[in-house]
Amino acid sequence: MKTKAQLIFTTVNVLFWIVFLGLCIKTGALLISFFVSLFINPQGAQNLHLGLDLFSLLAFDRWHYVSMVSLVIALSAVKAHMAYLVIRLFLQLNPRQPFNIHAAALISQISELALGAGILAILANAYAKWLLKKGIDLQSLSQYLDNGGEILFLAGIIFVIAQIFKKGVELQSENELTV
């Protein structure tokens, strides 16, 4: 009979697998559509992924289009990598000895990636606002640009948790070497 905590643990693990696969598919689709729109058929920019229409941006300036789409792809890739690290964390977590160096390192990496995602999101939003002032239609882009401030806030929380976890690793190793 599984405990409630084990059930929640398994459910969250499965959810993160779904999120990871979803983000990988999104990133891959964006990359392929991006290359198609640049080198094969510019009409591809009308529907890069699930209704993302940046054709007006491509028509306005090719380099602005490349920059904006690169930011969107990078943001998606960073989030996919974060989900991957969380899955790795779940895989190597031992309920009997949860505080180990590898888990602490993974949590630190997740906080660093969250910081990177936050900065990317802020840059992308600022860039989109600047492009909007030029009169380019970027309505469909809003769902692909996350709130950078919120991501940075979460990055801060994960960083604090990472520091507490590192202390936990120290305390556990000291406990293991206490006879």
């Binding site: 190793s173 000291e174 070497l177 206490t178 006879v179």
Partner: protein
Amino acid sequence: MAKRKMSLNELSEKVGLTLANLSILKTGKAKAVRFSTLEAICKVLECQPGDLLEFRENGP
């Protein structure tokens, strides 16, 4: 242990510690020792804590 002609296995059984923990203690890797453990070892080996512990500057 040599004086009492006792092996590590025998000592671990009498003291109630695992071989791994005794080995940690013997090789100087232990970070802390419980008083109960020290008492048990001294009782079995018929010695004083000072016979088992030594102070060294800047770690082992």
